[in-house]
Symmetry: C2
Subunit: 193 residues, 2 copies
C-alpha cells in the first residue's frame, strides 16, 4: 500500500470534490498545498505532476491521477462508493446533472479564466461580474434538472452521489461571489442536509 | 423501439461528439437542428428539452438525455462501445485525457462565453483572441498527457475511444480559429488516422 497524497489548494472546487470523495471512501491521505494565488501551479515541479497546471493531482495505489471527475470515478470504481445509480438511464441523468455544474459552470468560472476576463475588460469588478453572469443561470438550470429526481434528501437519492460532490463546492462559490441562490429550493435543501 | 432523435447544431462540438458515438454504435437517428446563431436554443421549445439551453439533446430508448459526455457514457454502457480501457487506472488516465479537452477547453470556448468576452472587452477581434488564448495551451497539455499512452493509432489504443471523440471536434475548432497545432505530433497523428 503506497501513501495517498493529494496536491491541492483549499479554495479549488475540483480539489474540494476529491476531498469529499476521499472522505466518503475512508481513504487516509496527506496533502501538499499548491498555492494558486502565488502561481505555484505553473512551477516546473507542479507541471511535472500535471501538464495542465491544475489542481488536484492525486498519488494513490502507486500511480498519479489528475482531473477531479476522473479521480472520483476511479475511487467509485475501486472503492465501491455507489456515486451513480445502477440503471443506465438514471446514471445518464445523474451524470448530466453533475456535468451541468462540473462542465458548464466550474471551468468557465476558473480563477484563471475570470482573471483573463478582467484583463480584457479593464474593469476592477470584472471578476465578480463574470462569476455572477455564469453561476446564477447555471445553478437555475441545475435546480430545474434536479426536478427529474425525487429528493431524498440528496440530489439523486438517499446517499451522497456525484451530483452532491459537484454541488457543494459550487454552493460555496456562489456565496463567495455574492450570487443569489436562496430561491433555489431543491439546491438549498441539499445544502442543509 | 422508439425513434432516436438528435437535437443538434452542425458546429457544436458537443453535438459532433454525440454524432461520432451514435455512428460508432451503429444507431440510426434523425436530427432536429437547433440554430445557435439564431438563438433557437433559448426558445421555450428547446428549454423544455434542455433547461440548460444547450445542444445536444437526444431522444433514445424512450427517454430524453442531455450533456454529451453523459450521453456518450450511456451509449458506451448500453451498446458496448468499449470507449474506455477496462483497467481502472488506465480508465482514469483515459478519462483525464478526454476531460482535458471536454472540461478544460471546450466550455471556456463555448460560443456564448466567447461572445460575452467580446462584449466586456469591446474589441471586434475578442472572440478570435479568446479562442487562441485557451485552445493552444489546452491542446499542448493534451499532447503531453497523451505521452502516457502508446499511440496505436488512436489516442489511447487500437480502437477509437472517448479521448478521440473529444479530440476530433477540438481539432476542427483549433483550425477554425487559426490556432497553430501542426507542431503537436501525437495530436495530428490521430487526426490523420
Amino acid at each position: 500500500m503506497t501513501e495517498t497524497v493529494l496536491y491541492d489548494y483549499w479554495r479549488s472546487s475540483a480539489s474540494y470534490r476529491v476531498r469529499i470523495a476521499l472522505n466518503l471512501a475512508g481513504v487516509a491521505y496527506s496533502t501538499v498545498p499548491v498555492d494558486l494565488v502565488k502561481g505555484e501551479q505553473r512551477s516546473p515541479e507542479h507541471l511535472a505532476r500535471n501538464p495542465q497546471g491544475f489542481v488536484p493531482a492525486l498519488d494513490i495505489d502507486g500511480v498519479r491521477l489528475t482531473q477531479s471527475l476522473a479521480i472520483i470515478a476511479y475511487l467509485d470504481e475501486t472503492r465501491g462508493l455507489d456515486l451513480l445509480p445502477t440503471d443506465p438511464i438514471q446514471r445518464a441523468k445523474a451524470r448530466a446533472l453533475s456535468y451541468a455544474i462540473a462542465i458548464d459552470i466550474h471551468p468557465v468560472c476558473n480563477a484563471s479564466v475570470a482573471a483573463h476576463a478582467r484583463e480584457i475588460s479593464g474593469r476592477e469588478d470584472a471578476v465578480d461580474r463574470w462569476m455572477q453572469r455564469f453561476i446564477r443561470p447555471g445553478m437555475q438550470a441545475f435546480e430545474t434538472m434536479m426536478g427529474a429526481f425525487t429528493q431524498s434528501p440528496y440530489c439523486c437519492g438517499t446517499t451522497p452521489g456525484l451530483a452532491d460532490i459537484c454541488l457543494m463546492p459550487q454552493i460555496y462559490n456562489a456565496r463567495r461571489w455574492g450570487v443569489e441562490i436562496d430561491d433555489l429550493a431543491r439546491t438549498t435543501a441539499v445544502e442543509r442536509t
